[in-house]
């Protein structure tokens, strides 16, 4: 009987630990962050070193962050949403999920990349790059891609992976870039051709470049930072840019509406800090391009100076997201299922 009691009380102590620890240890700010664990940790550590503000992060995908802060609306659990394509933030702002904050230093940022009401703050730029596997290209006897149209070349049958534009910012920026370059009808015709070559639509935008790195497929579209990360690990990934010009993503961060006061303060401080030189250097260390011109990562391998960028209108892209995705789903994806 005595033993049983001891067991029960040990269990009770354990349980009370589980119940309370979540609340008690939640000092500082909680951050939802879709970058890699290393990148999230590095940026927040730089923030702490500079300002003394403690932050812990939960790493989940950008779409999942939006679903989660929507579900937590009545009682937000996190103060800051760090990184992710501006489209997601535009959507969140339209649902009043974000707290406006005019970041100090926002004047240094090209006004095309900012939200007029300051509901979210741009933090970096990520151009789209084509990734290819030289080994697979050799096997199928193809050349590296030079144009968006290369992806539709029949030589790449079952050799292309794309992220699904609904779940991946990378894929959506690519789709919106093609539409802005060629006009909507030709762009969708091209997408239908590309779809014939696609072997798998992935959820995450990084996954296709991982498949290229492992010589699983020939071609993928990616953000430059993903290819930099693969190159830094030693993967022999080839890369090229479309001659027509490439699109890019505006990365953003935002304070979450109605967060607890301490969290809200931390988030505001972060949004001010991220546009300082130190903040931009911390973002640059993750291989994302600076939003405040000037900083350059000395370790970056991809030279962007000669790359042609299109005048990507991401506000248009954000506002037309639902419509383009629906058309994509109906015209491209499900056409494919029926074939």
């Amino acid at each position: 009987m005595k033993r049983r009691f001891a067991l029960a009380s040990a269990l009770a102590v354990l349980c009370s630990h589980v119940f309370t620890a979540g609340g008690a240890a939640a000092a500082g700010m909680t951050v939802y962050c879709p970058m890699s664990e290393d990148d999230c940790g590095a940026v927040l550590k730089a923030f702490k070193d500079d300002t003394g503000i403690e932050a812990q992060f939960v790493r989940i995908g950008a779409g999942e962050i939006l679903a989660r802060i929507r579900a937590e609306k009545a009682n937000p659990q996190a103060g800051l949403w760090l990184a992710g394509a501006a489209d997601n933030f535009i959507q969140a702002a339209s649902e009043d999920l974000l707290a406006p904050h005019k970041a100090a230093g926002i004047d240094k940022v090209d006004p095309r990349y900012t939200d007029k009401e300051g509901r979210w703050t741009p933090i970096s730029l990520s151009p789209i790059v084509f990734a290819y596997s030289q080994q697979v290209l050799d096997e199928i006897g193809a050349k590296p891609p030079t144009s968006w149209k290369s992806f539709a070349d029949p030589v790449f049958k079952d050799s292309v992976a794309l992220a699904h534009p609904a779940s991946s910012g990378t894929a959506y920026v690519a789709l919106a870039s093609m539409v802005q370059l060629d006009g909507e009808e030709p762009a969708f015709e091209l997408m239908k051709e590309i779809d014939k070559n696609v072997v798998q639509y992935t959820r995450s935008g990084v996954a296709p470049s991982r498949m290229v790195a492992n010589n699983e497929i020939a071609l993928a579209m990616a953000y430059t930072q993903d290819i930099e990360a693969a190159l830094a690990q030693g993967y022999p990934v080839g890369y090229s840019f479309p001659e027509e010009g490439t699109g890019f993503e505006v990365n953003a961060a935002a304070a979450i509406a109605n967060a607890p006061e301490e969290q809200a303060k931390g988030a505001a401080a972060f949004l001010d800090w991220i546009l300082t030189d130190k903040g931009q250097a911390a973002m640059g260390a993750t291989f994302r391009g600076p939003i405040v011109p000037g900083y350059k990562n000395p370790e970056a391998k991809i030279d962007l100076s000669n790359v042609k960028m299109i005048d990507y209108d991401f506000t248009w892209a954000g506002e037309n997201r639902a419509r383009l995705l629906e058309r994509y789903e109906n015209d491209v994806r499900h056409k494919a299922d029926a074939k």
Partner: protein, 560 residues
């Protein structure tokens, strides 16, 4: 040997005085029943209804129009058919494999039984993505088998065939454990009697053994079917253009920001699962499978000789396939850049050890709490449902099934939405993660317990109550010990599933309570396959060690 049809329980026809009498006779048990039902309703049914409500209730109020709009799109029905096809195929293959393993392990003289048993259980410990990654590494375009061994240059692993392979392997242990538990508890005197009366082995098998394990076969098929329907990670990673409801529901909710369509697709997923469950229940509840009668039983006659060879070969083939998959993962954890640079290295383990084991300890602690709760609650609920038909037990039955059939994403989003405000403010705590783990795995405990209970003659329990023991005491001292094999099934299942769950908890983890599966996902998504494989290998090793200890403890407990 025929199966005796059970007389309809008299209380079934119950007028309300009969119902009331049941409560008055067992006030304590009814109290427990009420408590359990309430908890299940709050933690299993409520969150799912909160999400499902959104399928028809939009900002503009109740709206059937959107429902019709969504249902009229062809992709909904394509993915519905895909889901059914995949679920049925995987369920049949996994159950057949599970039965082969269970029968050969318990009834024949196959050499190497302990080994086969150990390996057959491995796939329950499948951290997310492990199987899919192994398939790609083995059979992909740069696959070790397809390219290096066979010289195939353009293998395409994406699609239905890979999904069936992965799901069959991953879910075989569910069937194996379930059927094995039942085969072990069948009173072998029946088979011995059949044999000594001159029946051939085949007759004994087809007329005695097979009918007696039918409940376990059916419930295994059901469990695997439901698991396949709600599987999200594999179709997402390797399904190619073969879209299932779970994937479509996820992309509608998280990708298109369309909660309504997502909720509707998720509700559609419940239809095949619930139907399968109804069919199963109708079939099983009409027969009696009582074999454990409290009378002494003789020793088993083991099947030996020529017939064992094909059975054993089948088992070895399954074991080989499973080992191949897991060894691939271990191999990847020691290679520099899997598929590109196959130099052996310890770097990935160095990374893991430097990063520390906070997430692993979190996972172990939370799963450690969830496991006994799941197993005991599962047995208790099985007992309440099968032996005590209290008024309102249908609520309990359907609520638990609902939570099992609902995809993890829905449960996760439902939990965040439901438990984010007083009086049920749980977000950010570890409790919410534990609750999700328990609810997600409860049904397996209930199934295992129910199957076993159907075999145990009521008279054993009646003897206990006639001798003056209370019903509560009878449950804990008589029924529960008899349920031991089922208890082990659900303990090991609950532990491993809790440790490897991802889709439900990804919405529930907080900065203080991150789990190892979330870390693995993060490594996979950032190309660090070696590190991910190292985490997986460590996780599998730890789980194996725990299972071995659990088995030892249970064995020594039963010898006393």
């Amino acid at each position: 040997m025929t199966l005796v049809s059970q007389a309809a329980p008299s209380a079934r026809a119950g007028t309300s005085p009969a119902f009331l009498r049941k409560i008055v006779v067992d006030p304590w048990l009814f109290g427990i029943f009420a408590l359990v039902t309430l908890s299940v309703l709050v933690f299993a049914a409520l969150p799912i209804f909160v999400v499902m409500k959104q399928a028809v209730v939009t900002d503009r109020g109740f709206d059937l129009g959107v429902l019709v709009d969504t249902l009229s799109q062809s992709f909904v029905w394509t993915s519905f058919a895909n889901t059914l096809m995949l679920g049925a195929t995987s369920a049949i293959i996994a159950t057949a494999a599970g039965f082969l393993l269970a029968f050969t392990a318990t009834r024949t003289t196959m050499p190497g039984k302990t080994f086969v048993h150990g390996v057959a259980l491995l796939p329950i410990i499948s951290p997310p993505f492990v199987m899919a990654l192994a398939v790609v590494i083995l059979f992909g375009r740069s696959g070790l088998i397809t390219r290096e061994l066979l010289g195939i240059r353009n293998a395409n692993v994406y699609g239905f065939h890979s999904l069936v392979l992965i799901q069959s392997l991953a879910f075989t242990p569910i069937a194996y454990l379930n059927i094995r538990g039942m085969l072990q508890s069948i009173d072998t005197a029946l088979e011995d009697a059949s044999a000594s009366l001159g029946a051939s082995r085949w007759t004994t098998f087809s007329r005695v053994t097979l009918p007696l394990v039918t409940p376990a076969i059916l419930s295994s098929t059901l469990l695997v079917f439901v698991k396949s329907v709600e599987d999200f990670g594999n179709p997402m990673l390797i399904g190619g253009n073969y879209n299932t409801l779970a994937v479509e529901a996820y992309s509608q909710m998280v990708g298109y920001f369309n909660l309504q369509a997502g909720a509707l697709l998720a509700s559609l997923m419940l239809v095949p699962s619930m139907t399968a469950f109804l069919i199963h229940r109708y079939w099983v509840s009409k027969r009696s499978y009582v074999t454990v009668t409290g009378k002494p039983s003789a020793q088993t006659i083991r099947i030996s000789g020529g017939v064992v060879v094909p059975l054993a070969l089948g088992c070895y083939a399954i074991v080989f396939a499973i080992l191949l998959f897991y060894l691939t993962v271990v191999y990847v954890s020691f290679t520099k850049l899997p598929g590109v640079n196959n130099t052996l290295t310890l770097d990935h383990y160095a990374t893991v050890f430097t990063a520390g084991f906070q997430t692993l300890t979190n996972s172990l602690l939370l799963a450690g709490i969830a496991t006994p709760v799941t197993a005991v609650a599962g047995m208790l609920i099985a007992y309440l449902l099968i032996r005590k038909a209290f008024p309102g037990s249908f609520l309990l039955r359907w609520a638990t099934l609902l939570s099992f059939a609902a995809p993890g994403t829905i449960l996760g989003i439902g939990y965040v939405s439901t438990f984010n405000a007083a009086p049920l403010l749980l977000t950010g705590t570890a409790f919410i993660v534990v609750a999700a783990m328990v609810v997600k795995n409860l049904q397996v405990g209930i199934e295992a317990g129910s199957n076993q209970l159907r075999q145990i003659d009521k008279s054993i329990e009646e003897a206990s109550t006639i001798l003056g023991a209370s019903n509560t005491r009878t449950f804990f001292q008589v029924t529960l010990p008899l349920l031991k094999p089922a208890l082990f099934t659900s303990l090991s299942y609950a532990l491993t599933r809790s440790l490897t769950t991802l889709s439900a908890v990804i919405f529930l983890v907080s900065a203080n309570w991150t789990l190892i599966t979330v870390t693995i996902l993060s490594q996979v998504e950032t190309l660090k396959l070696g590190v991910a494989a190292a985490y997986c290998s460590i996780l599998v090793f730890v789980v194996l060690a725990i299972l071995a200890v659990m088995q030892l403890v249970l064995n020594s407990a039963s010898k006393r």
